[in-house]
Symmetry: none
Subunit: 364 residues, 2 copies
Amino acid sequence: MTTPSRPRLSGTVRVVGTGLLGASIGLALSGRGIDVVLHDASPGQQALAVDYGAGRAAAAGDAPALIIVCVPPDVVAETVAAELAAHPDAVVTDVASVKLEPVEELRRRGVDIVRYIGSHPLAGRERGGAISARADLFRARPWVICRDEETPGWALALVEDLALDLGAVPIEMTPEEHDRSVALVSHLPQIVASALASRLVDAPDTALALAGNGLRDTTRIAASSPELWVQILSSNAAPVVAELDALIAELGTVADALRDVGAAGARRTVAEEIASGNAGVARLPGKHGQDRRFEQLVVLVDDRPGQLGRLLSDMGEINVNMEDLRLEHSPGAQLGLAEISVLPEALPRAVEDLAARGWQIASV
Amino acid sequence: MTTPSRPRLSGTVRVVGTGLLGASIGLALSGRGIDVVLHDASPGQQALAVDYGAGRAAAAGDAPALIIVCVPPDVVAETVAAELAAHPDAVVTDVASVKLEPVEELRRRGVDIVRYIGSHPLAGRERGGAISARADLFRARPWVICRDEETPGWALALVEDLALDLGAVPIEMTPEEHDRSVALVSHLPQIVASALASRLVDAPDTALALAGNGLRDTTRIAASSPELWVQILSSNAAPVVAELDALIAELGTVADALRDVGAAGARRTVAEEIASGNAGVARLPGKHGQDRRFEQLVVLVDDRPGQLGRLLSDMGEINVNMEDLRLEHSPGAQLGLAEISVLPEALPRAVEDLAARGWQIASV
């Protein structure tokens, strides 16, 4: 890994709320030598983040230039208001995934929001908490920044520097534009994945035994937290309902065509829906799922204690470091598939040396 | 890996249709020393499969004991009928993804189907054609076999041997049970992914720029072929419509709750839908990170090659089997986290023995 350039931010950065996002921000900024102070309403959560290396515990006398509010959606506005009041010289931003409601709530409270700039890093993981924090969580991810006409340029620059120091890509949008966009690309997929997964609750085991990667991928985000998502969806209800109604109408068209599949044009309707999906998915930037910084190789391992250990010992002996590893365990099968992520330059040697040691590479 | 055992199949196997599935079957069986003859209506497609090593070109005088029909859904029945007639001593199976319609069509044609056993390997790739063939395509995947009461045991055994020689897991089902199952776990996800992706066709670029892995995963299979899927969905219309109607109703409930999110019980309805999705996705076998049948322990490992290998070697020596493993590698942190899933009864010993060997358990 190349050594990162000097950080753009200087002075003290205060992170309020040390869950996944707050701890990941602290981990990344601390790693770049920035003074990060952490505060969480839960002392245990805060202590965990400090132990994990995300920063030092907040103390009286801290004079942060920038404050990042990383708390649950329903307490963002009140927390931002409190931080603005407690730190009269600081710029305050938040990372909530809905942007119009917090600013409207602050206006309702009569808060002067000149020093508040809402933002939203499009990054996350299925599991939350500081224990899941990653310094590279925001790398190459979009970071939406919502300024308004009153926002001074120097304040905007601070939030842009934060995004850039975290390796993210700053994108300016209005709160309304942001909320409509995430309703489509984030909130609608969440509801669809959850509804699809909920159809599995009462399904027979024999049906689930036939599940493949298609179902796994379409339902993966259904594992997300109900507490968090009820807040997100409720805060962005109108744009989400508009997207949901349009999707329901489209699904209804397909259902009606299949209901009378012998009718003229029925098959064409179904084919056009699949073709339209081809066109839509083709518009998505980037490669599916996988982290583009790494290459994956899949190695077959016997489902016996120690087998995977021997594989990874071999990885160590051939001196190839793993960036990530997943074990796919198929029910009833005598084999597991180990998907190993390595740096692209290490892939050819890893494949060659592992094959030389008798491992079967399922795919590269 | 241990070298594969002797194949169960003997004699000549005939593969009709040398696309992805046919060519992959040919590659795997040929690789195990079985005599495979290939036939495809397209001479070019057949020659490609032969060049690819999937078998030899079919010739007069071939006397196959088993015939595998790997043609598009709409020509399965007529192809099976032709193969049964041309090879009076052979057992004929197919790999079509719908199982009731072909057998009904054969009955309508008055074909004696004692020697026909429908089957369906749950395996595939986004890209088709012999050029995408892989000998390991079926390894550890379910292979549904649909017998009826007339099916002789020796004929059933041939198809089971085929699945086992390909490394697949044979599962017996009735055609009705199979079609209902795939309507839920395969056909419904396809329609949902296609409809969701089609919402992106007219979306602004600024919205698509915010797309993350959630949207990528939920829409990945929307890249599937319209020609193939209109056939599959049309052949399984009734079970698919039933699943689709149920999903639409569920999405409508969420939309109505969000339409009047201030109303009593509205947020609860939304939260319960997300929670129900949690429960559904947790039922997926081998679903990474979601399997509630297992307990997780998190072990701290230095971010150095070989460390994880030593940990897993220790897991083997203390004779604890891993059901799943996930490595959390954070470039910003000095340590990685290995999340290991084990059977609940094995957890206490795993924790105790690993601690005794000097490993730090981060959380249980």
